[in-house]
Symmetry: C2
Subunit: 195 residues, 2 copies
Protein backbone atom coordinates (compact mmCIF):
# COMPACT_ATOMS: atom_id res chain seq x y z
CA UNK A 1 0.00 0.00 0.00
CA UNK A 2 2.62 2.52 -1.05
CA UNK A 3 1.65 6.13 -0.97
CA UNK A 4 2.57 9.00 -3.24
CA UNK A 5 5.25 11.25 -1.91
CA UNK A 6 4.51 14.10 0.41
CA UNK A 7 4.97 15.43 3.92
CA UNK A 8 2.65 14.29 6.69
CA UNK A 9 4.63 14.78 9.84
CA UNK A 10 1.69 15.56 12.11
CA UNK A 11 -0.12 12.32 11.39
CA UNK A 12 2.59 9.85 10.50
CA UNK A 13 4.18 9.79 13.95
CA UNK A 14 1.04 8.70 15.84
CA UNK A 15 0.14 6.26 13.10
CA UNK A 16 3.53 4.60 13.40
CA UNK A 17 3.03 4.19 17.12
CA UNK A 18 -0.46 2.76 16.63
CA UNK A 19 0.71 0.34 13.98
CA UNK A 20 3.69 -0.76 16.06
CA UNK A 21 1.51 -1.23 19.14
CA UNK A 22 -0.96 -3.31 17.18
CA UNK A 23 1.63 -5.47 15.44
CA UNK A 24 3.83 -5.98 18.50
CA UNK A 25 0.78 -7.08 20.48
CA UNK A 26 -0.32 -9.50 17.80
CA UNK A 27 2.97 -11.06 16.74
CA UNK A 28 5.56 -9.99 19.28
CA UNK A 29 8.30 -7.39 19.02
CA UNK A 30 10.98 -9.68 17.59
CA UNK A 31 8.62 -11.20 15.04
CA UNK A 32 7.58 -7.85 13.56
CA UNK A 33 9.76 -6.14 10.98
CA UNK A 34 10.11 -2.44 10.39
CA UNK A 35 8.83 -3.16 6.88
CA UNK A 36 5.59 -4.55 8.30
CA UNK A 37 5.09 -1.45 10.41
CA UNK A 38 5.78 0.78 7.43
CA UNK A 39 3.37 -1.25 5.32
CA UNK A 40 0.60 -0.89 7.90
CA UNK A 41 1.10 2.86 8.00
CA UNK A 42 1.39 3.19 4.25
CA UNK A 43 4.93 4.54 4.02
CA UNK A 44 8.23 3.03 3.01
CA UNK A 45 10.56 1.67 5.64
CA UNK A 46 13.06 4.52 5.44
CA UNK A 47 10.42 7.01 6.55
CA UNK A 48 10.10 5.34 9.95
CA UNK A 49 13.56 6.51 10.90
CA UNK A 50 12.37 10.11 10.85
CA UNK A 51 10.34 9.23 13.95
CA UNK A 52 12.45 6.79 15.87
CA UNK A 53 16.20 6.27 15.97
CA UNK A 54 15.68 2.49 15.93
CA UNK A 55 13.25 -0.30 16.65
CA UNK A 56 14.27 -0.60 20.29
CA UNK A 57 13.45 3.05 20.97
CA UNK A 58 10.04 2.57 19.41
CA UNK A 59 9.26 -0.29 21.78
CA UNK A 60 10.52 1.62 24.79
CA UNK A 61 8.49 4.66 23.90
CA UNK A 62 5.30 2.58 23.72
CA UNK A 63 5.95 0.94 27.08
CA UNK A 64 7.01 4.12 28.81
CA UNK A 65 4.00 5.98 27.40
CA UNK A 66 1.68 3.31 28.73
CA UNK A 67 3.14 3.38 32.23
CA UNK A 68 3.13 7.16 32.37
CA UNK A 69 -0.49 7.25 31.21
CA UNK A 70 -1.37 4.73 33.91
CA UNK A 71 0.32 6.66 36.70
CA UNK A 72 -1.04 10.00 35.53
CA UNK A 73 -4.56 8.66 35.29
CA UNK A 74 -4.43 7.19 38.78
CA UNK A 75 -2.86 10.30 40.33
CA UNK A 76 -5.38 12.61 38.73
CA UNK A 77 -8.24 10.58 40.12
CA UNK A 78 -9.97 12.04 43.15
CA UNK A 79 -9.56 9.25 45.66
CA UNK A 80 -11.81 8.89 48.68
CA UNK A 81 -10.66 8.92 52.28
CA UNK A 82 -11.36 5.56 53.82
CA UNK A 83 -9.10 2.62 52.94
CA UNK A 84 -12.06 0.50 51.79
CA UNK A 85 -13.30 3.20 49.44
CA UNK A 86 -9.81 3.88 48.15
CA UNK A 87 -9.23 0.19 47.53
CA UNK A 88 -12.51 -0.08 45.67
CA UNK A 89 -11.55 2.96 43.60
CA UNK A 90 -8.21 1.36 42.79
CA UNK A 91 -9.79 -1.94 41.72
CA UNK A 92 -12.34 -0.25 39.50
CA UNK A 93 -9.77 2.13 38.05
CA UNK A 94 -7.29 -0.66 37.32
CA UNK A 95 -9.84 -2.80 35.52
CA UNK A 96 -11.36 0.05 33.53
CA UNK A 97 -7.96 1.35 32.49
CA UNK A 98 -6.68 -2.07 31.49
CA UNK A 99 -9.80 -3.14 29.62
CA UNK A 100 -9.57 0.08 27.63
CA UNK A 101 -6.13 -0.59 26.16
CA UNK A 102 -5.56 -4.33 26.02
CA UNK A 103 -2.76 -4.12 23.48
CA UNK A 104 -0.66 -1.70 25.50
CA UNK A 105 -1.19 -3.85 28.59
CA UNK A 106 -0.21 -6.94 26.70
CA UNK A 107 3.07 -5.68 25.34
CA UNK A 108 3.90 -4.02 28.66
CA UNK A 109 4.00 -7.46 30.23
CA UNK A 110 5.28 -9.50 27.30
CA UNK A 111 8.01 -7.39 25.83
CA UNK A 112 9.95 -6.43 28.93
CA UNK A 113 12.66 -8.90 28.05
CA UNK A 114 13.17 -7.23 24.69
CA UNK A 115 14.14 -3.96 26.33
CA UNK A 116 17.80 -3.27 26.72
CA UNK A 117 18.90 -3.14 30.37
CA UNK A 118 18.65 0.60 30.89
CA UNK A 119 15.22 0.84 29.33
CA UNK A 120 14.11 -2.15 31.37
CA UNK A 121 15.14 -0.44 34.60
CA UNK A 122 13.15 2.65 33.75
CA UNK A 123 9.99 0.68 33.10
CA UNK A 124 10.48 -1.35 36.26
CA UNK A 125 10.77 1.84 38.26
CA UNK A 126 7.45 3.08 36.90
CA UNK A 127 5.83 -0.25 37.61
CA UNK A 128 7.07 -0.17 41.17
CA UNK A 129 5.61 3.29 41.60
CA UNK A 130 2.24 1.94 40.60
CA UNK A 131 2.51 -1.07 42.90
CA UNK A 132 3.40 1.28 45.72
CA UNK A 133 0.14 3.14 45.21
CA UNK A 134 -1.78 -0.03 46.00
CA UNK A 135 0.52 -1.12 48.80
CA UNK A 136 0.07 2.23 50.51
CA UNK A 137 -3.69 1.74 50.52
CA UNK A 138 -3.35 -1.75 51.94
CA UNK A 139 -0.92 -0.71 54.68
CA UNK A 140 -3.16 2.16 55.64
CA UNK A 141 -6.13 -0.17 55.93
CA UNK A 142 -4.13 -2.55 58.09
CA UNK A 143 -3.02 0.31 60.34
CA UNK A 144 -6.63 1.38 60.76
CA UNK A 145 -7.70 -2.18 61.49
CA UNK A 146 -10.09 -2.51 58.57
CA UNK A 147 -7.88 -4.85 56.52
CA UNK A 148 -6.09 -7.98 57.68
CA UNK A 149 -3.24 -9.29 55.57
CA UNK A 150 -0.16 -11.20 56.53
CA UNK A 151 2.11 -9.53 53.97
CA UNK A 152 1.27 -6.28 52.25
CA UNK A 153 3.84 -6.62 49.47
CA UNK A 154 2.71 -10.11 48.53
CA UNK A 155 -0.93 -9.10 48.69
CA UNK A 156 -0.19 -6.14 46.46
CA UNK A 157 1.37 -8.33 43.82
CA UNK A 158 -1.33 -10.98 44.11
CA UNK A 159 -4.14 -8.45 43.73
CA UNK A 160 -2.52 -6.78 40.73
CA UNK A 161 -1.91 -10.15 39.08
CA UNK A 162 -5.52 -11.13 39.66
CA UNK A 163 -6.90 -7.87 38.31
CA UNK A 164 -4.61 -7.69 35.31
CA UNK A 165 -5.53 -11.26 34.43
CA UNK A 166 -8.89 -9.92 33.32
CA UNK A 167 -7.28 -8.83 30.05
CA UNK A 168 -6.48 -12.43 29.14
CA UNK A 169 -10.09 -13.50 28.85
CA UNK A 170 -12.32 -10.38 28.64
CA UNK A 171 -13.87 -9.76 25.24
CA UNK A 172 -16.23 -6.86 24.48
CA UNK A 173 -19.73 -8.13 23.87
CA UNK A 174 -19.15 -11.25 25.97
CA UNK A 175 -21.22 -12.64 28.78
CA UNK A 176 -20.00 -10.04 31.28
CA UNK A 177 -19.77 -6.30 30.68
CA UNK A 178 -17.06 -4.07 32.17
CA UNK A 179 -19.26 -3.09 35.10
CA UNK A 180 -20.08 -6.70 35.93
CA UNK A 181 -16.40 -7.53 35.82
CA UNK A 182 -15.42 -4.64 38.09
CA UNK A 183 -18.09 -5.54 40.60
CA UNK A 184 -17.13 -9.22 40.67
CA UNK A 185 -13.43 -8.53 41.07
CA UNK A 186 -14.10 -5.96 43.75
CA UNK A 187 -16.12 -8.59 45.62
CA UNK A 188 -13.17 -10.93 45.53
CA UNK A 189 -10.60 -8.33 46.55
CA UNK A 190 -12.81 -7.07 49.35
CA UNK A 191 -13.09 -10.55 50.82
CA UNK A 192 -9.38 -11.23 50.37
CA UNK A 193 -8.27 -8.28 52.49
CA UNK A 194 -11.18 -8.24 54.94
CA UNK A 195 -10.32 -8.04 58.63
Amino acid sequence: MARTQGSHSEITGPRIREAALHLFAKHGFAAVSMRQIAGEVGVQVGALYNYTPDKQALLFSLLEGHMIDLLEAWRSLDTPQSPEARLEAFVRFHIAFHLDRPEAVFISYMELRNLDPENFSRIERLRRDYEDALETILRDGVAKGVFALPDSKLTTLAVIAMLTGVTTWYRPGGRLGPDDVSRLYWDMVRKTVAA
Copy 2:
Protein backbone atom coordinates in the same frame (compact mmCIF):
# COMPACT_ATOMS: atom_id res chain seq x y z
CA MET B 1 31.85 -24.47 21.00
CA ALA B 2 31.95 -26.98 18.17
CA ARG B 3 32.32 -30.58 19.09
CA THR B 4 34.17 -33.39 17.35
CA GLN B 5 32.01 -35.59 15.22
CA GLY B 6 30.16 -38.54 16.62
CA SER B 7 26.77 -39.96 17.43
CA HIS B 8 25.01 -38.98 20.63
CA SER B 9 21.36 -39.51 19.94
CA GLU B 10 20.36 -40.44 23.48
CA ILE B 11 21.61 -37.24 25.02
CA THR B 12 21.40 -34.66 22.25
CA GLY B 13 17.60 -34.66 22.05
CA PRO B 14 16.98 -33.73 25.68
CA ARG B 15 19.80 -31.23 25.62
CA ILE B 16 18.25 -29.47 22.63
CA ARG B 17 14.95 -29.20 24.47
CA GLU B 18 16.65 -27.83 27.58
CA ALA B 19 18.63 -25.30 25.62
CA ALA B 20 15.59 -24.20 23.64
CA LEU B 21 13.50 -23.87 26.80
CA HIS B 22 16.17 -21.81 28.46
CA LEU B 23 16.81 -19.53 25.49
CA PHE B 24 13.14 -19.07 24.57
CA ALA B 25 12.37 -18.11 28.16
CA LYS B 26 15.21 -15.62 28.30
CA HIS B 27 14.97 -13.96 24.90
CA GLY B 28 11.69 -15.04 23.36
CA PHE B 29 11.01 -17.58 20.64
CA ALA B 30 11.29 -15.19 17.71
CA ALA B 31 14.50 -13.65 19.01
CA VAL B 32 16.32 -16.96 19.34
CA SER B 33 17.97 -18.55 16.31
CA MET B 34 18.46 -22.20 15.64
CA ARG B 35 22.17 -21.40 15.56
CA GLN B 36 22.02 -20.10 19.13
CA ILE B 37 20.32 -23.28 20.28
CA ALA B 38 22.89 -25.41 18.49
CA GLY B 39 25.68 -23.35 20.05
CA GLU B 40 24.30 -23.87 23.55
CA VAL B 41 24.12 -27.62 22.99
CA GLY B 42 27.51 -27.80 21.36
CA VAL B 43 26.47 -29.05 17.93
CA GLN B 44 26.16 -27.43 14.53
CA VAL B 45 22.82 -26.12 13.36
CA GLY B 46 22.19 -28.90 10.84
CA ALA B 47 22.18 -31.49 13.63
CA LEU B 48 19.10 -29.95 15.23
CA TYR B 49 16.99 -31.09 12.31
CA ASN B 50 17.55 -34.70 13.28
CA TYR B 51 15.40 -33.97 16.32
CA THR B 52 12.78 -31.54 15.15
CA PRO B 53 11.31 -30.96 11.70
CA ASP B 54 11.43 -27.20 12.29
CA LYS B 55 11.59 -24.48 14.91
CA GLN B 56 7.81 -24.28 15.31
CA ALA B 57 7.56 -27.96 16.19
CA LEU B 58 10.24 -27.50 18.81
CA LEU B 59 8.25 -24.75 20.49
CA PHE B 60 5.03 -26.72 20.36
CA SER B 61 6.66 -29.78 21.82
CA LEU B 62 7.93 -27.77 24.80
CA LEU B 63 4.53 -26.22 25.47
CA GLU B 64 2.62 -29.44 25.01
CA GLY B 65 5.04 -31.30 27.24
CA HIS B 66 4.59 -28.74 29.97
CA MET B 67 0.79 -28.88 29.87
CA ILE B 68 0.76 -32.67 29.82
CA ASP B 69 3.14 -32.81 32.77
CA LEU B 70 0.89 -30.39 34.64
CA LEU B 71 -2.28 -32.37 34.02
CA GLU B 72 -0.62 -35.70 34.76
CA ALA B 73 0.85 -34.42 38.00
CA TRP B 74 -2.49 -33.06 39.18
CA ARG B 75 -4.42 -36.17 38.21
CA SER B 76 -1.97 -38.49 39.89
CA LEU B 77 -2.28 -36.56 43.13
CA ASP B 78 -4.42 -38.13 45.79
CA THR B 79 -6.99 -35.45 46.40
CA PRO B 80 -9.02 -35.22 49.60
CA GLN B 81 -12.79 -35.35 49.82
CA SER B 82 -14.05 -32.03 51.11
CA PRO B 83 -14.11 -29.04 48.79
CA GLU B 84 -12.03 -26.93 51.19
CA ALA B 85 -9.33 -29.58 51.43
CA ARG B 86 -9.38 -30.15 47.70
CA LEU B 87 -9.08 -26.45 47.03
CA GLU B 88 -6.17 -26.17 49.43
CA ALA B 89 -4.52 -29.11 47.69
CA PHE B 90 -5.00 -27.42 44.33
CA VAL B 91 -3.51 -24.13 45.53
CA ARG B 92 -0.48 -25.81 47.05
CA PHE B 93 -0.02 -28.07 44.05
CA HIS B 94 -0.29 -25.22 41.57
CA ILE B 95 2.26 -23.07 43.36
CA ALA B 96 4.73 -25.88 43.98
CA PHE B 97 4.51 -27.09 40.39
CA HIS B 98 4.90 -23.62 38.93
CA LEU B 99 7.74 -22.55 41.20
CA ASP B 100 9.59 -25.70 40.17
CA ARG B 101 9.71 -24.90 36.45
CA PRO B 102 9.56 -21.15 35.97
CA GLU B 103 10.92 -21.22 32.44
CA ALA B 104 8.33 -23.67 31.13
CA VAL B 105 5.59 -21.63 32.81
CA PHE B 106 6.93 -18.46 31.32
CA ILE B 107 7.04 -19.61 27.72
CA SER B 108 3.68 -21.35 28.09
CA TYR B 109 2.12 -17.96 28.68
CA MET B 110 4.32 -15.79 26.51
CA GLU B 111 4.75 -17.81 23.36
CA LEU B 112 1.18 -18.83 22.65
CA ARG B 113 0.94 -16.28 19.88
CA ASN B 114 3.94 -17.83 18.13
CA LEU B 115 2.14 -21.13 17.73
CA ASP B 116 0.46 -21.76 14.43
CA PRO B 117 -3.34 -21.98 14.72
CA GLU B 118 -3.64 -25.73 15.03
CA ASN B 119 -0.93 -26.01 17.65
CA PHE B 120 -2.50 -23.11 19.52
CA SER B 121 -5.84 -24.89 19.67
CA ARG B 122 -4.26 -27.99 21.12
CA ILE B 123 -2.55 -26.08 23.90
CA GLU B 124 -5.73 -24.14 24.64
CA ARG B 125 -7.62 -27.38 24.99
CA LEU B 126 -5.12 -28.66 27.56
CA ARG B 127 -5.26 -25.37 29.41
CA ARG B 128 -9.05 -25.55 29.53
CA ASP B 129 -8.83 -29.05 30.96
CA TYR B 130 -6.71 -27.72 33.78
CA GLU B 131 -9.02 -24.80 34.46
CA ASP B 132 -11.93 -27.22 34.56
CA ALA B 133 -10.25 -29.12 37.37
CA LEU B 134 -10.36 -26.01 39.54
CA GLU B 135 -13.82 -24.97 38.44
CA THR B 136 -15.19 -28.38 39.38
CA ILE B 137 -13.85 -27.97 42.90
CA LEU B 138 -15.38 -24.51 43.20
CA ARG B 139 -18.78 -25.59 41.89
CA ASP B 140 -18.81 -28.53 44.24
CA GLY B 141 -18.06 -26.27 47.18
CA VAL B 142 -20.84 -23.92 46.16
CA ALA B 143 -23.30 -26.81 45.86
CA LYS B 144 -22.33 -27.98 49.34
CA GLY B 145 -22.71 -24.46 50.69
CA VAL B 146 -19.12 -24.08 51.89
CA PHE B 147 -18.07 -21.64 49.17
CA ALA B 148 -19.87 -18.53 48.01
CA LEU B 149 -18.94 -17.09 44.63
CA PRO B 150 -21.00 -15.15 42.16
CA ASP B 151 -19.41 -16.68 39.07
CA SER B 152 -17.44 -19.90 39.14
CA LYS B 153 -15.78 -19.42 35.75
CA LEU B 154 -14.56 -15.92 36.57
CA THR B 155 -13.37 -17.01 40.00
CA THR B 156 -11.49 -19.89 38.41
CA LEU B 157 -9.64 -17.57 36.07
CA ALA B 158 -9.00 -15.00 38.77
CA VAL B 159 -7.57 -17.58 41.18
CA ILE B 160 -5.32 -19.11 38.53
CA ALA B 161 -4.08 -15.68 37.47
CA MET B 162 -3.33 -14.78 41.06
CA LEU B 163 -1.51 -18.03 41.78
CA THR B 164 0.47 -18.08 38.55
CA GLY B 165 1.53 -14.50 39.20
CA VAL B 166 3.82 -15.86 41.88
CA THR B 167 6.30 -16.82 39.19
CA THR B 168 6.78 -13.18 38.21
CA TRP B 169 8.34 -12.20 41.52
CA TYR B 170 9.40 -15.34 43.41
CA ARG B 171 13.14 -15.91 43.62
CA PRO B 172 14.77 -18.83 45.45
CA GLY B 173 16.55 -17.59 48.53
CA GLY B 174 14.33 -14.54 48.83
CA ARG B 175 12.43 -13.27 51.84
CA LEU B 176 9.71 -15.93 51.52
CA GLY B 177 10.27 -19.64 50.96
CA PRO B 178 7.96 -21.86 48.90
CA ASP B 179 6.05 -22.99 51.99
CA ASP B 180 5.49 -19.43 53.16
CA VAL B 181 4.26 -18.50 49.72
CA SER B 182 1.85 -21.43 49.53
CA ARG B 183 0.44 -20.68 52.93
CA LEU B 184 -0.05 -16.99 52.20
CA TYR B 185 -1.73 -17.61 48.87
CA TRP B 186 -3.93 -20.27 50.39
CA ASP B 187 -5.00 -17.75 53.04
CA MET B 188 -6.04 -15.35 50.31
CA VAL B 189 -7.86 -17.91 48.20
CA ARG B 190 -9.65 -19.31 51.23
CA LYS B 191 -11.00 -15.89 52.14
CA THR B 192 -11.93 -15.11 48.54
CA VAL B 193 -14.23 -18.10 48.16
CA ALA B 194 -15.48 -18.28 51.75
CA ALA B 195 -19.23 -18.56 52.26
